[in-house]
Symmetry: C4
Subunit: 242 residues, 4 copies
Amino acid sequence: MLEELKQEVYEANMLLPEYDLVTFTWGNVSGIDREKGLFVIKPSGVDYDKLTPEDMVVVNLDGEVVEGDLNPSSDTPTHTYLYNKFSDIQGITHTHSPWAVSFATAGVEVQAMNTTHADNFYGPVPVAPELTKAEIEEAYEENTGKVIVDTFEQRGINPMAVPAVLVEKHGPFSWGKSAKDSVVNAKVLEVVCEMNYHALMLTNRDNRVPQYLLDKHYYRKHGENAYYGQDNAKSKDHAKKA
Amino acid sequence: MLEELKQEVYEANMLLPEYDLVTFTWGNVSGIDREKGLFVIKPSGVDYDKLTPEDMVVVNLDGEVVEGDLNPSSDTPTHTYLYNKFSDIQGITHTHSPWAVSFATAGVEVQAMNTTHADNFYGPVPVAPELTKAEIEEAYEENTGKVIVDTFEQRGINPMAVPAVLVEKHGPFSWGKSAKDSVVNAKVLEVVCEMNYHALMLTNRDNRVPQYLLDKHYYRKHGENAYYGQDNAKSKDHAKKA
Amino acid sequence: MLEELKQEVYEANMLLPEYDLVTFTWGNVSGIDREKGLFVIKPSGVDYDKLTPEDMVVVNLDGEVVEGDLNPSSDTPTHTYLYNKFSDIQGITHTHSPWAVSFATAGVEVQAMNTTHADNFYGPVPVAPELTKAEIEEAYEENTGKVIVDTFEQRGINPMAVPAVLVEKHGPFSWGKSAKDSVVNAKVLEVVCEMNYHALMLTNRDNRVPQYLLDKHYYRKHGENAYYGQDNAKSKDHAKKA
Amino acid sequence: MLEELKQEVYEANMLLPEYDLVTFTWGNVSGIDREKGLFVIKPSGVDYDKLTPEDMVVVNLDGEVVEGDLNPSSDTPTHTYLYNKFSDIQGITHTHSPWAVSFATAGVEVQAMNTTHADNFYGPVPVAPELTKAEIEEAYEENTGKVIVDTFEQRGINPMAVPAVLVEKHGPFSWGKSAKDSVVNAKVLEVVCEMNYHALMLTNRDNRVPQYLLDKHYYRKHGENAYYGQDNAKSKDHAKKA
């Protein structure tokens, strides 16, 4: 069942240690088959060096395990909630990567300060607020998804344009066009946090990029006028114009 | 004698370089056989790449070497004291890992600021005070154990719930349910110190987590209602409920 | 066509991951054949572990692709502009290395604070200002070259003596006597930024080196009186005098 | 000639990249044969991955090359000066390691703040002042040795008890009982600088250790009452007493 997706999600999970994003088992990646309404996720607490594609757990959009001998990630209800509400996302990553967790701990938004940020995130990566006592005790993981979605809705942020968030005092969640893409966004967020941290220490000025620089870099890589890489429609034109 | 425990303690010691917790020989791990009242510890000053399981030294709870050609770690009296006073611990790790030593040097407690901390330590990791001149000159290593135990007793901290400490101007000690578990806790402490440091630099606010978040994350992984991983009683329920 | 230069530029590009200067594909190196008026550059968005010498793209000094199936780096117009204006440079590197980007984000010049800097850069590495809205929308990559060249001209800096720059809110560009040399300068800049950052945090004093120390270290390694290494004219004399 | 010492000095030089103490060729190690009055040193500017034991250069205590096809390190006159004045040292290391250079750049002494420091250095690692214009122009490398020796003499520091120094705006020099020992001290200094930096950022208090803690840790590892490791006279006693 979903063998190809299991392989893909397995490989995306294995990128977490390769990209230096996890300590021990503190991370998980999932990927979804939107047609079947099923997603595949890492089992809970299994070491990366023992993980196999067959260990992946299949879950439906009601959060029920459909296939798999192992328990799915304890964060599964967060993934379920996000897949239900963010209808375009195809993969989700959660880690405790140290730079992103530092910003989440401090409750400091990841402002768009440079072109590395603008290349990947079309605006600041927001902080979703701490859950209340009631939210934590009632349905912690599901409500983690809820504060994320509420944050994006209240601030009018398109989750495909800003495919990451920091949950306050917890850590980063990211998503994307595939399981792998969500891991790439987790790495970008980690690097951008590292850069922002040092820039914030170096100066007290407002470091935010102007809108036109954000537009330029974001749309250089995304959308119909993108010209970065080998696959975008305008790449050849840009090269020729150059 | 205690061949299995020697192998286990050897492997736990070898995790120190693997987890980037030691420079040169600045660390040691021990593990105990509570029934026999004997513990096994790394020999003093031996390089990790020359260490073998046979090099491990067997010591009794009076601190006497029972077996082994090599001298045990010079910190052996600290291990002896801790095993005698913390009756549930099965393994102990001491390192000079740089983030934890930085906090110990500054005398700054490792506050519970985020879920990474709460997943592993049920409350702040305390700083045991510097030893007095008399304590140092009389029986330095044993008294290092004493200030640790006194700190936990005076503050009413359960050493199994907060399995680590910083000795002021010295460094971290951690313990756990096995030799390996004590090394895992040493790594968790190092990562949490790194995260706390950057969060402290990013903001002046009080970053501490509320009690209910500490409870949620700690008991998600520990105790009879834990549901993280594959072995906890409630894991299946959590998956189903999800 | 230009097979030797392609190999050289390929190898210089592969130094970026080896020197820890890139995340994903965020970097590019080129090298020029001045006699033929052609330069060779990395293709856009291609992973380093899939890159081959044959993938390199040949571009002329009007920025037109002369040979190559792949699109050249989207930063090609910046390289073109720099090769046209800085007539002595033979190679160019652009990265998003985290220390250099942090300084670029904060708009903080890399002052000459120590002999590591003075050995390699004869004076501060300047910050070229953010592009205006018009400059970005008109011809972003070409104008990135223009603000760099303007900065060096306005401040009277010799680009061969200070072979690097930070473009504000963007990141570092460096150049040199070959493609490889430009990568070496990118690494030196990264290390110097790391050192300056920590020195700036440690003290509020003016850390800049005096002119005579800058002269001594720079000319120990560069110019006709250089005596560092095996190839400089005065190396033997220095050894003998010693 | 001196084949054993060449091998030893070669291996000590190769520890620099292994211990993450060098970028490119920015470091050199030497070792001396006191009976013959000759020392062996790395050639100038040769890459570590191309270095062989045969490349090592033999120099006498007048600083004259006695054997070797390659030019010796441009810092050779500093080594010569130190060997002449510090009569007990058997090896010398110079690097541009980033933490130590950061402290040298800021002119901040490496105070004795914790037991890691006290285990290795019996007191603060001093900063030797910047050279004057005249000192630099006359005989830069020799005068670098002179400011180091003057600093130790003026402050009454025993170079065998504190086997390292920071030369202001330049970087660290260390020495020891052998070429390898001097590299070990270079690594200790780097780690201690990293720890001190973070401790200094975490608190404004005076972090220095009291004299009795310095004494305890230093003499646990050094001198006739040392009991750390396998070779010290009192190690067995300590184990037994424990």
